[in-house]
């Protein structure tokens, strides 16, 4: 039972490390790295769902009958693209924030805004 699911649990731990970094870190870039880890871990979770014991990669070859599930792969390909797109936009924002505020630390930005 536990061995059946250990994969998922490690992945959950990964997600949470990323999630924690997003919430708790004050540096905008660090937050984004956390977000990145969070998302990547969700990708691992999906791909784990598609794993079939004894199967091979879903590229049709004569004589092979057991393949891993291709659908999660497709979904995650899309999700990876979405992830990098979000990251690019976020980093562009960070660059502009640095220009406008002179810092990329959340606390300092808040202080400047309150003045």
């Amino acid at each position: 039972m536990i061995l059946d699911l250990y994969n998922y649990w490690v992945v959950i731990a990964l997600m949470m490390v990323g999630f924690y970094s997003v919430i708790v870190r004050g540096n905008l870039i660090k937050k984004l790295i956390g977000l990145n880890i969070f998302q990547t871990s969700v990708f691992i979770f999906y791909i784990s769902v598609g794993k079939v014991d004894g199967g091979t990669a879903p590229i049709l070859v004569d004589g092979v009958t057991l393949y891993s599930n291709p659908l999660p792969h497709v979904l995650i390909l899309t999700a990876i693209v979405v992830g990098i797109a979000t990251l690019a936009l976020a980093l562009a924002l960070v660059v502009r924030i640095k220009d406008a505020y002179g810092t990329v630390e959340e606390e300092e930005i808040r202080e400047i805004d309150e003045q």
Partner: protein
């Protein structure tokens, strides 16, 4: 008997966890970015062990390639060290633990890992594996699903990339053509070895990109991966020889137009299939023979994706690096 794959899984997962924790604890952003690249690479390795070769390919290109690159070019502008400030640490910890526990509870009723009879592997996916050979007739099922069965999602994906391009342009502006003023400081292109290697390497990379673009039906790869690799070649060139020469080859206004064109090409396939009597993106009507119609459709839309992805990646990289070139070197500690 100890399964070899099982050991690999455990080792890779353990490494991933160590890397993630290290990232969370460190303060040197440069090191963190490097580690996040390693994290991407490790997860790509893990994807291979889970038989997801296409995903592994993509994750390697993105997680270990493009995203560290973007991070680094931004770090150059914003500084290398974080001041380590934490906010609501307790609150965050509680939230994360609760979320994590909820997820663990959620997995308890899940089908076992690798179960071939799990619902995920026994419902919709079965058709893709069993029928795509006949219906679409290309070996890589992932490509079949990606480009045809769920081709509309992929259209959305191309649009997401395009959106990011437009978003970054709206934020950072488009650098049109070589700027006035002198060449930026010393470039790595001055190193003989690097130059020679790269002069050999870059054409090879471009060639590889083309291969990946048009070979996606047979092995792992496709428009997105090809686009990223193509972009990598240009980016490498610009890193070695400076931004201006690269921009003379890939002029930003042209890139912008190409990014839009890629999406339009993709969408046009849908429009053409509507005009030919099918539904949106129904490639079967594109040719007299449905299967060759599928082939035609997939080739064209993969091309659209490739063009959009490549031009977007290059554009975004230009947008970041042209900023850091403009900034004084001192600001990037």
């Amino acid at each position: 008997m100890i399964d070899f794959a099982f050991v690999v899984d455990i080792v890779v997962l353990a490494l991933l966890l160590v890397t993630a924790v290290a990232i969370a604890r460190m303060k040197d952003l440069f090191a963190i970015v490097m580690l996040s690249g390693i994290y991407g690479l490790l997860s790509a390795a893990f994807f291979v062990s889970l038989d997801a070769v296409d995903v592994a390919f993509t994750e390697a290109a993105v997680g270990a390639g493009i995203s560290p690159l973007l991070f680094l070019s931004v770090l150059k502008l914003t500084g290398r060290y974080e001041n380590g400030s934490h906010s609501h640490a307790i609150f965050a910890l509680v939230l994360v633990v609760v979320t994590g526990l909820a997820l663990v509870v959620g997995t308890l009723d899940m089908p076992a890992f690798g179960d071939p009879d799990s619902p995920a592997s026994s419902h919709v996916a079965v058709r893709y594996l069993e029928e795509s050979g006949r219906e679409i007739d290309i070996p890589n099922v992932v490509t079949s699903v990606l480009a045809s069965y769920r081709g509309y999602d992929t259209f959305g994906e191309a649009v997401v990339i395009f959106t990011a391009a437009v978003g970054v342009l709206s934020l950072l502006g488009l650098l049109s053509g070589p700027r006035e003023g002198g060449e930026s400081p010393v470039r790595m292109g001055d190193h003989l070895v690097l130059r020679l290697v790269s002069e050999m390497l870059i054409p090879l990379i471009l060639l590889f990109a083309l291969y990946v673009q048009f070979h996606g039906e047979y092995g792992p790869g496709g428009g997105f991966q090809a686009g990223v690799i193509f972009a990598a070649a240009i980016i490498l060139h610009s890193m070695l020889f400076g931004l201006q020469p690269a921009q003379r080859v890939a002029r930003p206004p042209v890139l912008r137009a190409l990014a839009a064109l890629g999406v339009l090409v993709y969408g046009s396939v849908g429009v053409v299939s509507m005009l030919s009597g099918g539904t949106f993106l129904d490639y079967s009507v594109l040719s007299e023979d449905p299967v060759s119609g599928q082939h035609l459709g997939i080739i064209v839309i993969e091309l659209g994706v490739g063009v959009t992805v490549a031009s977007t990646m290059i554009l975004i990289f230009f947008a970041f690096t042209s900023r850091s070139d403009a900034a004084h070197p001192e600001t990037s500690r």
